[in-house]
Symmetry: C2
Subunit: 239 residues, 2 copies
DNA sequence: ACAGGCCTGTAACCTAGGTTAAGCGCAATT
DNA sequence: AATTGCGCTTAACCTAGGTTACAGGCCTGT
């Protein structure tokens, strides 16, 4: 049930069966939230974090004027507010983009597990560092890539990340975001996000219909994106 | 000599004198590098990380076409490639923006210290998480703020971060970046960075001359930036 | 003393992406 | 069956920021 999370961890490092048991035991309960629900409000004190089992979450920051920037998308297997374990409160909001199932992990259990298995402490530290790397790549996108390259890059990244946890099918995946939400990931207006998506369709690179994305031409899309997945740290790590 | 680093840590959490001794003992040597030197190349395997004692470093990512985005600026006290301890290689380059003094900390000593003092492991985990928060705020800037607001925000952030380590003077600080480097932080062209800087000067918010920045009107600058320092996690943390 | 490079500053012009507005389809509600 | 609302799409128009080019000042090396 938390298997998808272990799958993600094991892509990057060994997890012994003893460690696996300990990780499974950190889950206190499983919660469900509905699309558009605010799951964690920035600033509030946290005493637990969540592992995303199913569905999509977005982390985002807002400006006083209401402009929103999504700082990271999260898919099954992710630990979206693990940084809350050390930070105690988040600087970004977490919102459900679809109906979701969440495993709730109290912070004291994270503390316990990292004391008992210091290596798991490093594994989770590593995990927040990979999230930071994803966010750096986003800064590169927002600062330097064109709209079309940014969107292509996002689609490529999500393909790889979903593939790690076995949630792709036929060069495609469920993509529950509205175009408004997509535009908030890319630092674009909805109108221009739409134009950009049309252009990717016109070039026969992707299809997006009924919340399902199909990548028609992976090579072509990666080319437009100048996509290089090394920032995702997919190789095996000694931790 | 590594005191500036302890000063930064102590702003956010208690460090006992025993912990302090252990931290000091992690430094293997002190290196100097010259302005413009590439200090860490992305992708290369790391066996040590560095604490910045003096000077400024930039982390940046380049696109194949040569466009560069600075992902974070680092000042005295920072541990710019601490994420390399778990990631083993960086996804961003580290370049010296000025002459710098660096304390070299071998990874095995970080491993030792975190095994002996698990709390210090969490302190350093926290530290990389604050860096990630700084990078999220950058994404918000790049995605949603105007050029002038972005630049004002950067100047505010650096003021606060330098103030933590006692490197401000009279509402100002040494600012060694050229306008090109500044533009690479902000996702702007040099020409527009110059225009934007002129506008901040014209509004009597800042002066920048001879690599020295003076904030003429802190309130005004924070207003333009919509600056809220909570993402810097400056309060005391139990870790 | 001079040449060559960088850095700062400006000006003229251009374009990627923003703004505003409107229409269409479809699902949920009444 | 009509209504409301949301998401998608397109069009016309606008502007923040990009591009190109050039000039002056200051270092550094010869």
């Amino acid at each position: 049930m938390i298997t998808v999370h272990l799958k993600k961890l094991r892509r990057r490092t060994e997890i012994s069966s003893e460690e696996e048991r300990a990780i499974r035991a950190t889950v206190a309960e499983v919660r469900e939230v509905r699309a558009d629900e605010l799951v964690v409000r920035s600033g509030e004190l946290l005493t637990s974090s969540i592992i995303l089992l199913d569905g999509w979450l977005a982390r985002s920051k807002d400006l006083p004027g209401g402009e929103r920037q999504v700082t990271e998308l999260h898919v099954a297997g992710d630990f979206p507010d693990l940084h809350g374990f050390t930070l105690k409160r988040l600087d970004d909001d977490i919102t459900a983009l679809s109906d979701c199932r969440l495993a709730v992990v109290p912070h004291e259990r994270i503390l316990d597990i990292t004391m008992q298995f210091p290596r798991l402490g490093r594994v989770y530290w590593f995990s927040t560092n990979v999230d930071a790397a994803i966010q750096r790549e986003l800064s590169l996108s927002l600062g330097q890539r064109s709209a079309i390259s940014r969107m292509a890059h996002l689609f490529c990244e999500l393909y790889v990340r979903l593939d790690v946890v076995g949630r792709t099918r036929d060069s495609g995946y469920q993509f529950p975001l509205t175009q408004r939400e997509l535009s908030e990931c890319l630092g674009l207006t909805v109108v221009h996000a739409n134009r950009t998506l049309q252009e990717l369709r016109r070039r026969n690179l992707v299809e997006l219909e009924n919340r399902h994305l199909i990548i028609r031409d992976m090579r072509g899309l990666e080319g437009v994106a100048e996509f290089d997945p090394s920032y995702l740290y997919l190789d095996k790590h000694q931790l």
